[in-house]
């Protein structure tokens, strides 16, 4: 009996290995011809058949931020008629050597243009760009391309502060409704914000959102807390609950999980999201969401690469390019007249008559600013060198695509990052398995 079993097992082993081996060969040979089957050209007459596009994401579809990149990439793939194997998406790539390895692997696969989505990917992508001069590398949110002088390395971002300002206006309308209906007093008009890391991209975001709220409710204040992570469902939820506990009547976030919107839905607190429509998570509380639409930039970069043309080292998308969007207002949650107000403010922003960072609308230590040196050239010194305030407003995303507004203006209180102790107590409270390792 045992012998028969042994024979069967070893036979299975052999067959299994043979099957695996054969399949590997097949996989290798089919990869190449598929490439040429794709459509040769689209309506504009550009030939995309030789194009292969790589996208490196810090997290996967569960992160609203990364998902936003992936959705736009799939849209562009459809639009340009690219086949499945012309677009390679690598998810869960850390901000370390694995980013460089992944970029190089994508080059090996034949990619002519590679996008990376996370701030910490930048130096690795720069390295890959220097090592592979024939491949275009595009990095979102990065700060180095405008000074790095690497011809095939590009940065891109969008003037999302305008989108957040608009979202802030919608939030302001909601807060105003609460005040008008007597639900809260103007003193209680405090909103909360869950941020990831306390640096310019996040600061610029919450400040523009806050200024949007203040555009409607000038007495509003804001409390900001940081999770020190881009994606942590539990921490973001906890942070939102803490803000609600502190009396915030409306929450927004710049961290990439569904933690905060879900907490808001539970506590019936209106929520303003970023990058995705959260109406499915919070049908009764999701108010509106601002989003960077990456499709215009993808198309611009892919088109240029397909034609062998050079394109901007540093590119800022705007409302006009279709890069900054405000996703549908949830009528169930929004205050009356929100749509009309948004249309009015949006028109003013586009016409240039309204500036988000108008120096008349904010103060630093009680004083109006007429000069501010921003750290636009990321040279490693972390000191400001570019005068960003002129003509009565702070020129955000004009000298560089990535945000550099990092002024901690009056009216916003920030809670410092989670400390070691709160993290431990947080884990213990949740019955985390830190203590479950049993000793005999």
């Amino acid at each position: 009996m045992k012998k028969i079993l042994a024979i069967i097992l070893s036979l299975m082993l052999v067959i299994g290995l043979a099957a695996c081996g054969a399949k590997t060969d097949n996989g290798d040979t089919t990869a190449a011809p598929d490439n040429s089957e794709s459509k040769p050209a689209d309506a504009t007459g550009i030939d995309y058949s030789e194009m292969k596009i790589g996208l490196i994401c810090l997290h996967d579809e569960n992160s609203t931020y990364d998902n936003n990149f992936i959705i736009a990439m799939n849209e562009v793939k459809e639009e340009l008629g690219l086949s499945d194997d012309q677009v390679l998406i690598k998810t869960n790539i850390g901000e370390d050597d694995s980013c460089l390895t992944t970029a190089e692997e994508l080059v090996d696969e034949g990619c002519n243009i590679i996008f990376a989505d996370s701030f910490g990917h930048e130096t690795y992508i720069m390295q890959a760009a220097q090592d592979n001069p024939d491949v275009q590398f595009c990095h979102a949110t990065g700060t180095h391309a405008h000074t790095a002088n690497i011809p095939n390395f590009h940065n891109a971002f969008a003037s999302i502060y305008e989108g957040r300002f608009l979202a802030g206006v919608a939030a302001g309308m909601k807060v105003k409704e609460m005040i008008d209906s007597g639900k809260i007093t103007t003193d209680q008009a405090k909103i909360g914000y869950v941020g990831a890391f306390p640096y310019a991209e996040v600061k610029s975001g919450y400040t523009s959102f806050f200024l949007g709220v203040r555009y409607i409710v000038p007495e509003a204040t804001m409390e900001v807390t940081f999770t020190n992570s881009w994606f942590d469902i539990a921490l973001e939820r906890e942070a939102a609950l803490k803000l609600i506990n502190d009396g915030c009547v409306l929450i927004s976030q710049h961290a990439d999980s569904e933690g905060a919107p879900k907490a808001c839905e539970e506590k019936a607190i209106p929520n303003v999201a970023y990058n995705i429509n959260t109406a499915s998570i919070g049908p009764n509380t999701a108010l509106v969401s601002s989003r960077i639409n990456w499709a215009p930039y993808y198309k611009l970069a892919i088109e240029a690469t397909a034609q062998g043309k050079s394109f901007d080292a540093d590119w800022t998308g705007t409302i006009a390019t279709g890069s900054v969007e405000l996703l549908e207002v949830n009528e169930k949650v929004a205050a009356e007249g929100t749509d009309a107000k948004l249309a009015e403010v949006k028109a003013a922003l586009e016409a240039g008559t309204l500036k988000v960072y108008d120096t008349k609308t904010f103060t630093l230590d009680g004083k109006t600013l007429d000069t501010y040196l921003a750290d636009v050239d990321d040279d490693g010194t972390f000191t400001g060198e570019t005068e960003a305030i002129s003509d009565g407003y702070f020129h955000e995303s004009e000298y560089r695509s990535a945000p550099y507004f990092d002024i901690e203006i009056d009216g916003i209180t920030t809670l410092r990052p989670y400390s070691f102790y709160s993290r431990i107590s947080f884990l213990l409270k949740r019955g985390h398995n830190v203590l479950c390792f049993k000793q005999k």
Partner: protein
């Protein structure tokens, strides 16, 4: 007599400890377990993703062996995981539950980074690298020594202690990055990318080769140390029974402290290899969970450093394959994690059948 036996109800089969099993039978069982796991995985793949399982397996193989670059990257992951596994092995063999490898690696890496960041352009590169190595090893030792000394002196719980030390190391790294990167982004990026100061050099054009060679030598040395040296013997005696160790005159406290110094030193070395030889940066994710995965690698190999090469290969291979599946089939990496879990479950589970056998009651009587 027959009637009597029928009255006492016996289960249909029972479990009995096997006598020592021939090596080829053991490996046949292991091979069978892997095939069984692949068959189960195939069903999961078909049910959940509607993909052809053979294509999925082929993609997994491609993830590690598809191109020379992928192969090197897999070897690099293997080397780091193996290094940390070798580090925790002596402690685990001694039944000292060192759950702090993550923190020891991280703190070792931090020590390297302090030098790389602050004096990177001030001293010659060889001196920098040598001092980084020394600093990392010392850092790892320090992080491992605290819990060891307290355990030896006052019998504190080392699993809790080493675990807590992880959090301290994580916060220290977060703090250091906050100081070094005042913009608040918590991103160091490549350090010294122009001067390459403190970077381990390429060997024969391969940037990971030094890492791999160091760990290869270490594996052999650790095997000899555990199997043939007096220290190695003392470790296994303390692990089996502290009282026996005391009875035959082994200084248990000394062995605990000495072994944790070794364990911490190797974790520190792994931190050095990660900072100087691989990432050239530091972040809270430097160890990337390998400090915990290493425990599994070490146990799976029954603390045999040579077998650990195989078990860490298995993990590195599955991890690389996971990424490949996710990209090729537009799947979430979670499906790859599920498959990895199933495969490891079968491999661990089959050890039961190597150590025990299931005998049907009837056949026993027949004998």
């Amino acid at each position: 007599m027959n009637e009597k036996e029928k009255k006492t109800r016996e289960p249909l089969f029972h479990i009995a400890k096997r006598p020592a099993i021939e090596w080829w039978k053991a490996w046949l069982i292991r091979g069978g377990a892997i095939i069984a796991s692949l068959i189960v995985c195939a069903f999961i793949i078909v049910i959940l993703t509607k993909q052809n399982p053979l294509e999925v397996y082929a993609a997994m193989v491609k993830g590690s062996f598809g191109t020379p670059r992928k192969f090197w990257a897999m070897l690099q992951n293997l080397a780091i995981l193996l290094c940390i596994s070798l580090a925790v092995t002596p402690a685990f063999k001694m039944k000292f539950w060192n759950l702090g490898a993550e923190g020891q690696v991280l703190f070792g890496g931090l020590c390297s980074m302090v030098l790389m960041f602050t004096v990177g352009d001030k001293i010659p590169n060889w001196m920098l690298i040598a001092s980084m190595l020394a600093a990392s090893v010392l850092g790892g030792i320090l992080w491992g020594l605290f819990p060891a000394v307290l355990k030896a002196k006052w019998g504190t719980n080392e699993s809790l202690f080493t675990l807590m030390m992880n959090y301290i190391a994580i916060q220290l790294v977060a703090f250091a990055i906050m100081v070094w990167v005042p913009s608040g982004s918590s991103v160091m990026g490549l350090v010294n990318s122009t001067t390459k100061a403190g970077w381990l050099p390429d060997l024969f054009g391969q940037k990971y080769l030094i890492n791999i060679l160091i760990v290869a030598v270490l594996t052999v040395v650790m095997f000899i140390y555990l199997k043939y040296s007096k220290h190695g013997y003392e470790i296994s005696v303390v692990g089996e029974s502290e009282n026996t160790a005391r009875y035959i005159g082994i200084n248990v406290k000394k062995v605990i402290v000495r072994t944790m110094i070794l364990s911490g030193a190797l974790c520190g070395l792994a931190g050095f290899l990660l900072v100087s030889g691989t990432n050239h940066t530091i972040s809270k994710e430097l160890a990337g969970g390998n400090g915990f995965t290493a425990i599994m690698v070490s146990w799976l190999a029954k603390f045999n450093p040579l077998i650990m090469v195989l078990t860490s290969f298995l993990i590195a291979f599955l991890q690389k394959g996971a990424g490949e599946i996710a990209t090729n089939f537009k799947l979430n990496t979670s499906i790859a994690d599920i498959l990895t879990g199933i495969i490891i479950f079968f491999i661990i589970g089959c050890e039961f059948f190597i150590n025990y056998q299931i005998k049907s009651t009837k056949s026993k009587e027949g004998k």
